[in-house]
Amino acid sequence: QKEVEQDPGPLSVPEGAIVSLNCTYSNSAFQYFMWYRQYSRKGPELLMYTYSSGNKEDGRFTAQVDKSSKYISLFIRDSQPSDSATYLCAIWGRNAGNNRKLIWGLGTSLAVNP
């Protein structure tokens, strides 16, 4: 089983739609949860960063963490064509060998159509 699973998509939505992007993870010791956005031919950039279970909002973006289910989500409200990108989840914590490790999802490709 992969430590982090993320549906690669592609996901195509009309402008204004609510978008839900998700990752699951296997290690309950993971503590920090991040979402990165990557535009075509660019490097990833940090979008959201959460530590605890619950929701964190930043403008049109909401990151949600459910540690009991080992499930994280990123919601985008009122999606815009400029949101078209690949979204990567990244999870940080100590693995079974007590080594701190950053684990990446494969990324979900999102297209928001005008």
Partner: protein
């Protein structure tokens, strides 16, 4: 406003050539990383460094080496390029986490390497 700079955006090299990919960060970060990114495989860590002159192997170090002579600069070296090293290479840096906190990375724009 550029914080992590990768010197070459696009390179085309021939099999067997030695390839240098340079990365410079201006945030005084202790940690620097080299990843490669391939469709269907995602981001894979090649090497990282927690301090000047220190290096640690990542998940896929074979065929690569690194150099960190100065805090701000981290170089990736392909001693003898092969076609399976055709990829997008991403450099990143982060501040030291101490005993806690997550490793939040700042990435460069990437270097697209094609080996013929």
């Amino acid at each position: 406003d550029v914080k992590v700079t990768q010197s070459s955006r696009y390179l085309v090299k021939r099999t067997g050539e030695k390839v240098f990919l340079e990365c410079v960060q201006d945030m005084d970060h202790e940690n620097m990383f080299w990843y490669r990114q391939d469709p269907g495989l995602g981001l894979r860590l090649i090497y990282f460094s927690y301090d000047v002159k220190m290096k640690e192997k990542g998940d896929i170090p074979e065929g690569y080496s690194v150099s960190r002579e100065k805090k701000e600069r981290f170089s990736l070296i392909l001693e003898s390029a092969s076609t399976n090293q055709t990829s997008m290479y991403l450099c990143a840096s982060s501040a030291s986490q101490g005993s806690g906190g997550a490793n939040v990375l700042t990435f460069g724009a990437g270097s697209r390497l094609t080996v013929l």
